[in-house]
Symmetry: D2
């Protein structure tokens, strides 16, 4: 059975791991021998499917634990941390992956319809950007990171572009990239390397919520040198690479994983 | 007397105009013939100096009004808007300049000291980034923008770098640039062009609050091709250029105004 | 008659000024009161139209001289320089604008057709990038620049993107931007500020030579927030702004002038 | 013995592999089981050391062949290609790594000393940028690439910065990045993924040729979050990751491998 030597006995925390990029990442890391902790917010309708996937992961002889809670809630976060410290122990986490997608998709300007409120911006920035800092600092305080740990956040080309109805998420992605750089700098004394993966257009549940996502998908396929969308597995593979020992000197980077979309 | 033909009878709103880049901008635009509305939050100790400067501006035969309020307060904002609509009238504003500098300067990680809280991030993001949208949307709703208006926000190299203790402000600057791009796209139907000026290190009150600002200044002088810091007047001059009719096709840009710091 | 005070008695050198962005720039600067020197390579068929345009420029009470030569030829370059020194005198040039578009448009890879040769790359890099340095250094040696002079080169989004058949020009634009930054740094002791304008898709003769330019134009209109192409006048206006005294602190920048294309 | 399954029986072409990043890359890939072909230009004085390193590589049970020729010479290139086709066979190369460092280090402007000539620029651009295309197109014509092959070129922060005496190399690095993007786009039908690694300041022979390299090293250590220079091994590790099957969707990217230098 193929396993990655670097990974054995290590843990990965996946924030937002019930579907899409987060779940694909959990699956890849489990397959390579990493133990998995998933924090997710899943409706009852998808829980059975999620549980099946967890069982598949465990078939790789790894531990998988999960918490179906609101990752934004500070009390819940503290509870997860303390349970993890008890059951997993300190210095166990090789990686923390941020895949939280909870933003308000509305226009900034629409004379006839609903637009983003100040509060929509604040909530989106908190959920999709500041929460990375909240979890990383809580993990650090609880000594959960192993030496040479990896923090990985998912961003998109939207962080430096403008798309209609994507204004709050775009601002959050830009802030998320900035916070990742600050982590890359300030947590270096703990040995943490922090990077963003800029995923191409991926046909996930989160994408389908964006108005006009069908057109986005068509355009992405058209401009991609390989003529296809990004798959969750593509992104999971890149997380895998960034968690390898050989990635020790990659820090503060934004790595496009899109088959080349971003060069068109 | 030298005046810019494009400007006569037009108004500029300066958010954060009591000192630094904002005040220098007000002075330059007044000198070129634009009427000025300043929203500022000034302590009593600097009010006399501010009033003197206002009188100097008026000597250029322009109107100058000011509001000493908290630009973040929604009720105060609405009050300013309604007073401006009454006294100045609709479609009068050629430009809205965002120079709000109110951020928390603390490290992300410090085993022995105070670090940024979630709330510090939220307040900084609201004050230095989301407030741009709040004011632009309020102006648009009140029909205050003239056709071919300009929205200009001040950013810094810190938006895509990492400096210790600057994490919350860096995230806010990244978000501010993103919001400026969204405005550039979504307010195009109103004829607005929105751009950021990326100012070099400028010896303002805001800079002096950053721990290590003396070192930043020395390094900036050292790396600058012209061997000097950026002056508030340099930035004000760039605002002036972006408000000219000839800048009509500059939209969504981040213009470095730093004598070349950013290329070193 | 409207004239820009900064400009009176100053000269602009326009390299590649027989049509497109270069000619529009010459016209704008002439209209604002600057004397114009154009180096161009014009076929006989367009010379009459060019001569008419020169006469129009002169109607603004400015001097206009032109040289119909190959700007790449070192002997011709020296000849132009020495004639200009004689007729115009030293320290007279406020600006040097590089608008040389002479590149090979072929694919890198085509199993069945002609592809770029090493020599195609070399010639394109020389004509569209290195020539900027050749002219700037020759001007500097001959003391032709006035204090606080401006060097401006035209680039495109293609410098950091990949378009089929545009490979050699893309490399040249990337090199041109780099050379502009080196000029911004190394010629600072002479007071020169060097910047690039990143023009949006403009319907010029050069564009029409690019295979698929019709599709490029359609896509540009579609993604532009204002729904139109960039006009040569838009770019000329930006050159005008960068030549103003107020642009003294803009150095080493790449200024997009595209109505916002680059943010989509 | 640890080997990477993806790699067994595959070949890597290293252009410029006698020392520095190229040699470290050859060593890492050999250690992981890839056969190695090195094109280098080595003086007699270093040949003995080079031969010893080759023997060490072979101890990993891989084939290593080398050509001590001028990689810029088209006839020599054709000779290498035809020998490789004969001895290795078609479709054998998983990767082609471009590590050619042969540039002219002179200022653009120096009233009293030697400066870059047009020819210096041309030679540097040819050696450090266009040569990538020459080799990739020759490899493609000879069917040497395996499916899902990787082209990797080494760039530096200097591609988008300006450093004194580095003007020609900076332009070449910018052109190299552009050519890599064009390869990423136009060679997609052959399954090739092309990327650049932006290495931090590495204490190689090439670096020591840059005037002021001691200061560059000091500053790099100072600004690096981990307080050390980039090692050739760090860069070799990143090449290894980009050659893994999991990197299949990384295409056209510029990956910083510098421990975080670029974020300061």
């Amino acid at each position: 059975m193929k396993m990655t030597q670097d990974y054995i006995g290590k843990w990965a925390m996946i924030l937002g791991g019930s579907s899409g990029l987060g779940l694909a990442t959990a699956q890849k890391l489990a397959q390579e021998g990493m133990n998995i902790c998933i924090v997710h917010r899943s409706r009852r309708s998808i829980l059975a499917a999620f549980d099946t996937t967890v069982e598949e992961m465990k078939s790789h002889n790894v531990d998988v634990i999960s918490f179906n809670i609101d990752a934004m809630n500070p009390e819940k976060r503290e509870k997860v941390i303390s349970e993890v410290v008890n059951s997993v122990g300190v210095s166990a986490f090789k990686t923390l992956v941020h895949s939280v997608a909870r933003g308000n998709l509305k226009p900034l300007h629409d004379p006839n319809g609903s637009v983003l409120s100040t509060n929509d911006f604040t909530l989106t920035l908190d959920a999709m950007a500041v929460s990375l800092y909240d979890w990383v600092s809580a993990f650090a305080k609880a000594n959960l990171f192993s030496p040479d740990a990896r923090v990985i956040a998912f961003t998109s080309e939207g962080s430096h572009k403008a798309w209609k109805q994507y204004g709050a998420v775009a601002a959050a992605k830009a802030a998320l990239e900035s916070i990742t750089r600050s982590i890359a700098l300030e947590y270096a004394p703990l040995g943490i390397k922090a990077n963003c993966i800029q995923a191409g257009v991926t046909d996930t549940e989160s994408l389908r919520l964006i108005p006009g996502s069908e057109v986005m998908k068509e355009k992405s396929i058209e401009r991609n040198p390989y003529g296809r969308l990004t798959l969750p597995e593509d992104v999971a593979n890149a997380v895998y690479l960034l968690c390898r020992d050989e990635a020790i000197w990659i820090n503060g980077a934004i790595l496009p994983v899109d088959g080349g979309d971003h060069i068109r």
